[in-house]
C-alpha cells in the first residue's frame, strides 16, 4: 500500500545515460576476474586458468542441466559443435579492453524508462489457457512433482 503522495514526491527513475561511477568500475573489475561468467560454480581449474583457453564443454552435464536426453552418439556429434561456439567466445578474451569504459551490461537505449505501477490486465487470457498442454479448470495440470529439484 504505497501512498500516492509519497510516490509522487519521488522522481521517476529514467534509464538515462549513466554517469559512470568509480564503484561500478571496481565491481566490473571484480567480475572480470571470472572468465565470461558470473557464476560461482566455475570449476577451480577454469577459474585458475584465467583468460586463457576455456574448459571444454561437459556434454552429459550440459544436457542434464537443460533437461535434454542425448544418446551417446548425439553427445559425440554435438560436442565439437558446442566446442566451436565456446571457442568463438574464447576469441573475445583476446580483445584489448584497456582503454574501454567498463559497463555491467550492453548499452541500453537512452530515454527508455521503467514501467509505471499501473494494472493492465492481459485481454486474451483464453488464448493462454488454450495453449496450455493440460488444463484442469482452474488449474494447470502437470505431472506429479514432489520436492525433487
Amino acid at each position: 500500500m504505497l501512498s500516492a503522495a509519497a510516490a509522487s514526491a519521488i522522481p521517476r527513475l529514467r534509464w538515462a545515460a549513466p554517469p559512470r561511477h568509480a564503484s561500478s568500475r571496481a565491481q566490473w573489475l571484480l567480475l572480470r576476474q571470472r572468465p565470461l561468467s558470473s557464476s560461482p560454480n566455475v570449476t577451480p581449474a577454469a577459474a585458475a586458468s584465467g583468460p586463457g583457453p576455456l574448459e571444454p564443454p561437459d556434454l552429459p552435464r550440459l544436457a542434464k542441466s537443460a533437461r535434454i536426453s542425448l544418446s551417446q552418439q548425439e553427445a559425440e556429434e554435438f560436442a565439437p559443435k558446442i566446442q566451436q561456439v565456446v571457442d568463438w567466445f574464447g576469441q573475445l578474451q583476446a580483445v584489448d579492453l584497456e582503454s574501454i569504459e567498463p559497463s555491467l551490461r550492453a548499452d541500453t537505449a537512452v530515454g527508455s524508462s521503467l514501467r509505471e505501477d499501473k494494472a493492465e490486465p492481459f485481454a486474451n487470457r483464453d488464448a493462454i489457457i488454450e495453449a496450455l498442454p493440460s488444463f484442469d479448470d482452474p488449474y494447470i495440470k502437470v505431472p506429479r512433482v514432489l520436492n525433487s529439484e
Binding site: 527513475l13 564503484s23 567480475l31 557464476s39 514501467r115 494494472a119 492481459f122 493462454i128 495453449a131 514432489l146
Partner: protein, 547 residues
C-alpha cells in the same frame, strides 16, 4: 506481553498443500524416530505459544553446554505493488487461480519483461531502512532451475550485484526473554520475482499449478549468521516485519506467505571458529514457530554432537511440522545446486541517481528502532516501549494522543490496558475503533483534573470505543461527574456506617480489614462517582473517630 507471540497466536496451516508433506514424511518419520533425541521430545498438543516458546528457551539453555548455535535467515518479502515485477498483470491475493497472467509471466517466447518502477523504490526504501549501502548500478540475473511453478525455467533475480548490501538492524529483546539490545548484520537485499503456487491433488497422480503469483515482486533479505537462539531469530523476523509494515512496502503477512523466513542453523563447540554443517529449515508460518523450530533443531544437532554422531548432521532442507513440533528431512542437498546464473539479457541495468535516493531518504517514516529510542527517552518502561512501537498504527495513535497534550505514561497505560484488551476481544485493529486520540487525551485530562475517577473513565472508554462521541458528552449524558464535595461524601459515609452497625462494631473490635467493605458500600451508594481519594480519607477519619 509483547511481541512476535502476540501475532503468532493463530491456527497453524501448512505453507503449501498438505499432500506434499503426507507422502514424503511417513518413511522419514520412521527413520528419524530411531535416533530421536529423547531429551528434546515436546508435547504434540500446542499449548499457549508463549508458554511453549519459554519452555523451548529453557530446553535450549539446558542442552547448549559446551556448544553454540549459529543462525542466519533469508527472508522473502512480497511487495504490495499493484502489478507484478516485470509485467502489468495486477496481483491480488486470493484471486481465482490462473486469472492474472499474461505472456510475460507465463514465460511465453518473445515476451519482454519491463521493470516496475515501484519495485525499485521499495527496494531502496528497505535498503535504507536496514542501513545498507545502495548500489548506484545493479543488474538482474537469471537463476535457472526446473520446477512447474516457474514457467520460464529461470527466476529473474539479482546475483552478484544486489541493489543493497552491508547493513544491519537493531532490535530490543523483550524482558520475558531476557531483554537486551541486539544488532544483527544484513548481508544484502535484492529484487527478484516470486514463483507460482503448486498444489498436489488428493489422488497424488498429478499436481496443479496456479501462476497468479508468478512474477510478483519480492525482496530477499539475507542476514549475517549473527543469531544464536530461536528467540533472537524470531525477534529478527518480527523486526523485519515491523520495518516492512512501517515502510508500507508489504503487508508482512506470514499466513498468506507475504513474509517467508528460511532459517539456516548449525551448531559448533564453543571456541571453534569454523561453522558446523548447516541445515536449512522451512515451513514456519509464525515467529513463535521459528523460535520453536530453531530450538528443536539446535537440540537435535547438539545431541548428535554429544553422541559423537556429528557426521549424521548433513547439509539438507528440513521442514518444521507444527503438529509434532519437530523438523523432518525434506531433501538432502546433493552438492551445490547449479543455478547457472548469468546476466538477464532482457533487462537493462538499474541505475539510480543520488537525487532519487535522497528523495526517498527524506520521505522515510520514523522507523521502529528510532521510535523505541524516542519512547525510551520519554521515561517509558521497555515493556511499554516494545508494545507501543510494535504496530505502527498503535504507535501513531499513541503519538497523536501525546500531541494533544496527554501524559505519556497514562496514555501508554490506557492503550496497553483497556484499549488493547478491547481490540483483542473484538479482534479489531486500533483504527477500527471510534475512540480518537483527541478524546483519549481529554479523558486522561479529566482524570488528572479530578472530574472523573479512573473507574468511571473505564466506563466512559468503552462507550467512546464502541459508539464514539466526546468525553464531555458522555460524562454529561450519563451524569458521571466525580463527586468531589467532601460534605456530600461525608453524608454518604455516615449513612453507610449507620446502616451497618454490626460491621462497624467488628471494625472497632480490631477487624480493620473491614475498611474495604465500607469503602465499597460508599462507592456503591455513589454509583461509582465518589472521589476515591476523598472517600478513603473521610472514611478513615470516621472509622478511627469515636463518633
Amino acid at each position: 506481553m509483547a511481541l512476535p507471540l502476540l501475532r503468532g497466536i493463530t491456527t497453524p496451516t501448512l505453507f503449501r498443500a498438505n499432500g506434499m508433506f503426507c507422502t514424503t514424511q511417513r518413511p522419514i518419520l520412521a527413520h528419524f524416530s530411531a535416533n530421536k533425541p529423547e531429551s528434546s521430545v515436546r508435547t504434540a498438543a500446542p499449548k499457549s505459544t508463549q508458554q511453549a516458546t519459554r519452555e523451548g528457551q529453557v530446553v535450549a539453555e539446558q542442552n547448549t553446554q559446551g556448544f553454540e548455535a549459529v543462525i542466519g535467515i533469508e527472508t522473502h518479502v512480497q511487495l504490495s505493488t499493484i502489478t507484478k515485477a516485470f509485467c502489468s498483470c495486477p496481483y491480488n491475493y486470493g484471486s481465482q487461480p490462473n486469472t492474472t497472467i499474461c505472456p510475460t509471466c507465463m514465460g511465453h517466447p518473445g515476451a519482454l519483461p519491463v521493470l516496475n518502477a515501484e519495485v525499485v523504490e521499495c527496494a531502496v526504501k528497505l535498503g535504507l531502512a536496514l542501513n545498507c549501502n545502495i548500489s548506484m548500478t545493479s543488474k538482474f540475473d537469471r537463476k535457472q532451475y526446473f520446477y512447474p511453478d516457474l514457467p520460464k525455467g529461470y527466476q529473474i533475480s539479482q546475483f552478484d550485484i544486489p541493489i543493497a548490501e552491508k547493513g544491519y538492524v537493531d532490535l530490543d529483546i523483550p524482558l520475558e526473554f531476557g531483554g537486551g539490545h541486539r544488532r544483527f548484520g544484513i548481508t544484502r537485499v535484492h529484487m527478484e520475482e516470486d514463483a507460482g503456487k503448486l498444489l498436489h491433488s488428493e489422488s497424488g497422480s498429478y499436481s496443479q499449478v496456479d501462476l497468479n503469483r508468478a512474477g510478483v515482486p519480492l525482496l530477499e533479505i539475507v542476514s549475517e549468521p549473527d543469531m544464536r537462539t530461536g528467540i533472537e531469530a524470531a525477534e529478527y523476523g518480527a523486526e523485519i516485519q515491523r520495518v516492512v509494515r512501517y515502510l508500507g512496502v508489504g503487508n508482512g503477512n506470514m499466513q498468506e506467505g507475504s513474509l517467508r523466513c528460511d532459517v539456516n542453523v548449525s551448531v559448533r563447540p564453543i571456541g571453534q571458529s569454523e561453522f558446523g554443517t548447516k541445515v536449512e529449515i522451512k515451513n514456519m508460518n509464525s515467529f513463535s514457530a521459528i523460535s520453536r523450530a530453531i530450538d528443536y533443531e539446535i537440540s537435535r544437532q547438539i545431541l548428535l554432537h554429544k553422541e559423537s554422531q556429528a557426521d549424521q548432521i548433513v547439509q539438507e532442507t528440513r521442514l518444521w511440522d507444527e503438529s509434532s513440533q519437530k523438523t523432518f528431512t525434506m531433501r538432502k542437498k546433493e552438492g551445490l545446486a547449479d543455478y547457472r546464473y548469468f546476466p538477464e539479457p532482457d533487462l537493462p541495468e538499474v541505475i539510480l541517481t543520488t537525487e532519487y535516493i535522497d528523495e526517498i531518504r527524506s520521505s522515510m517514516p520514523e522507523l521502529p528502532e528510532a521510535k523505541r529510542r524516542r519512547y525510551e527517552n520519554m521515561g517509558l518502561s521497555m515493556q511499554d516501549v516494545i508494545f507501543l512501537a510494535n504496530d505502527d498504527n498503535v504507535a501513531h495513535f499513541f503519538d497523536s494522543t501525546l500531541e494533544h497534550g496527554a501524559d505519556a505514561k497514562m496514555a501508554a497505560n490506557w492503550i496497553m490496558g483497556d484499549i488493547a484488551a478491547y481490540l483483542k476481544d473484538e479482534k479489531l485493529s486500533i483504527h477500527d475503533i471510534k475512540l480518537t486520540p483527541l478524546e483519549l487525551s481529554e479523558m486522561i485530562a479529566s482524570i488528572k483534573n479530578g472530574i472523573i475517577s479512573g473507574k468511571i473513565a473505564k466506563e466512559i472508554l468503552v462507550e467512546l470505543i464502541s459508539k464514539g462521541g466526546t468525553v464531555k458528552s458522555v460524562i454529561e449524558e450519563k451524569d458521571l461527574v466525580q463527586i468531589a464535595d467532601p460534605a456530600a461524601i461525608e453524608a454518604m459515609v455516615d449513612q453507610v456506617l449507620t446502616d451497618n452497625p454490626k460491621q462497624l462494631e467488628q471494625y472497632r473490635a480490631g477487624k480493620t480489614k473491614l475498611q474495604g467493605f465500607f469503602a465499597g458500600q460508599v462507592m456503591k451508594a455513589s454509583k461509582g462517582k465518589a472521589s476515591p481519594v476523598l472517600l478513603n480519607k473521610i472514611l478513615g477519619e470516621k472509622l478511627k473517630g469515636d463518633c
